[in-house]
Symmetry: C2
Subunit: 411 residues, 2 copies
């Protein structure tokens, strides 16, 4: 049965929206005198005039290179951290953790993944010069779960800990959970105490999910970054199944912008995830993650009323803007899935005078006469773009893992 962490998760979206904008003003007014970097970012902007989500677009987006420049100008945190060392819990090279309970917002994700008070969690995220271990550690403390701080110990030591302590839950990267389960089978170690898992920090494909669930583990995924903590998380249907997409965490405003710009995309379009974190120690206004996602319409059937996103859809630098459309590595993979005879695929974007040209190279040793036309139709269906198709022999394309190559000169 699905339970909520608290009543904030089920309040009307309108109440949440006005609370978020109110918190934004309050936090900026408290942090501004102590954070020179924040003052710089909002210079000339009257925060009191930000009354609706659309008004946020007045604040310039803060991208990683800007942040690094600010950090170089004013070490170590670019004047964005508003709390002194005596008020901080942990300090990392790129970020900090304050003293507030569940500072990274992990308790809601743990709760949504089925973790409950009194559970024992094997935490395989690193605690060493990494925020991920601490994200789970502090969230577990807030939820009333004890933690085995396993981090990146050797797999044999991890199995020894599972065997001795019988944790109910796993937190870590998804592939490492699979490794643990496989190794346990090899050495005949009983790890059946683990019945739930919350994973993030690396891609989870359908096959990996299926492999883990086949071992009787209730597996849920979050979307998190090491700067921001938990941004969104998967939820259960009332029957314990998986709802589509991910529900946003509380205490943050998420926008999807056209990659590389400050401008929000139209509803339902893929773009770059930009997060405003409403945190008194280290507020971040319109921080661009470099990750791609899209909003989903409507609310989640789990009863949580917050906005939903599709989850992580790749990195901005791996995508290419073609005219008004965004071409994603995921698109190329979808095209590959439609044609079993292909070994390797690559999309190349070229500039021909004033016009962008998209070229699909497809490797196959088994090209029938209709393949050319069928590939063209697939590209159109998946991306909404037209493309020239070139069929080549297997081994022609370089094996560099690139699905999209942008050959346009940045004019």
């Amino acid at each position: 049965m699905s339970e909520h962490y608290d009543r904030y998760e089920t309040r009307p979206q309108k109440s949440r929206e006005s609370a978020l904008l109110r918190d934004l003003k309050a936090i900026v007014s408290v942090a501004k005198p102590r954070a020179a970097g924040l003052r710089k970012q909002i210079r000339g902007i009257n925060i009191a005039e930000i009354k609706r989500r659309e008004d946020l677009a007045r604040i310039p987006v803060l991208r990683k290179p800007d942040l690094h420049q600010m950090q170089a100008d004013e070490p170590p945190f670019g004047g964005l951290v508003a709390t002194r060392a005596s008020g901080l819990r942990h300090v990392l090279i790129d970020c900090v953790e304050g003293q507030a309970r569940d500072w990274w917002g992990a308790a809601r994700a743990l709760c949504a993944a089925g973790f409950r008070r009194g559970d024992l969690i094997l935490n395989c995220f690193s605690y060493h010069l990494s925020s991920t271990g601490h994200i789970i550690d502090s969230g577990a403390a807030a939820l009333g779960c004890a933690v085995i701080p396993a981090g990146q110990s050797r797999i044999e030591r991890q199995l020894e800990a599972i065997h001795a302590l019988k944790p109910q839950g796993y937190c870590g990267k998804p592939a490492f959970l699979k490794q643990l389960l496989d190794r346990a089978t090899e050495v005949n170690c009983d790890v059946s105490s683990i019945t739930r898992a919350l994973v993030f920090g690396a891609p989870l494909d359908a096959q990996l999910r299926q492999d883990i669930e086949a071992r009787g583990i209730h597996l849920r995924q979050a979307y998190a970054t090491s700067d921001l903590g938990i941004i969104a998380y998967e939820t259960d249907t009332p029957e314990g199944g998986l709802n589509a997409g991910m529900v946003l965490n509380e205490n943050l405003i998420l926008e999807i912008v056209k990659p590389g710009t400050d401008i929000p995309v139209a509803a339902g379009e893929v773009g770059e995830v930009v997060v405003t974190r409403l945190n008194l120690d280290y507020p971040l206004l319109r921080f661009a993650t470099g990750d791609l996602s899209m909003m989903l319409p409507g609310a989640s059937p789990c009863g949580r009323t917050n906005l939903r996103i599709r989850g992580w859809m790749g990195r901005v630098e791996d995508a290419a803007q073609v005219d008004e459309k965004l071409l994603l590595p995921a698109h190329v993979m979808q095209i590959a899935d439609r044609h079993e005879c292909l070994s390797r695929l690559r999309m190349t974007i070229m500039r021909d005078h004033t016009r962008d040209r998209v070229l699909l190279h497809a490797e196959t040793s088994n090209a029938d006469t209709s393949l050319h036309a069928r590939l063209g139709a697939s590209v159109q269906a998946v991306t909404g773009m037209g493309a020239e198709i070139e069929i080549v022999a297997p081994g022609t394309l370089p094996s560099d893992g690139k699905l999209i190559v942008d050959e346009r000169t940045k004019a």
Copy 2:
């Protein structure tokens, strides 16, 4: 200037002693119904009758093999942990950490080493399946220090963190601090922000201490174990120098017993450290550490009124009982220090019918006629024992690091 963490440290020893015995009774009465292992250990003993330190001897000492047997009989903690998972913070293979502030008692040691509220600490103890990282982490939080959870990250990453974040303090093993300082010199990285250090977990010899202090670092040592946390710590003279010995931590009762027995030694004798930890989550009564130390007479000049010990003096298994005396590896090292011409030394203890014989093998290529007699006098002066002396050529003794070899059959 030396400061104390709180007024408990300077209360009259008589008040502390009665508070400790009162706490012992209170904790046992709360924990007993929840901890079957504790009930087993004190079966037949009326805790209310324990009125003086001497009465503790009625409780049997708990040694590591007993503990492991109890853990095997009642996994995972042998029925000695009195708190459920929902009340614990971290769970390790051999021990737990509760939710109480500064659960391991590290804040006093940090304070005595000169750490102050607002300091930033580079914590090089591991957080992964190890309590040491968490011992410092929770102590720092209690003292109001922020922590860089560096753990066992690569040395280059550690230097990067020091360079970017400029911590004032270091916590970790002493030899690793030396490594960090040496590597920083090699790569010309400025680590001069570090001006104080609290070290434990590995031996600190005079040379290492001098090398670190020569870099302008105020270095203090604690005595800690991964089960018990901080047991004792060094303190400053009013002028900032080093007081002799270590002051005991609060909330524990320390005894020195004849190794392998339940019987306290006479005042001032070397023996095995036995600790009673007065903790509600995981009380440990008369837990034998396997470490050797001795009490020092009188109180510390720093104003802390608690008892003092000499610090860590080696492991019980590396020492040998000869008649009523204890022969320590440290004794052999002291003898070596008195004679520059020696390369390797070894003490062998043999049983000759009913009498123990001690034999000193000394390697030298430069034996003058008086060496034999001078070595005999040194053995007598350092150990209080007589020994037969045998001078051998360099390379005769095996290079296995053993200073004492006990060849008596355990009859």
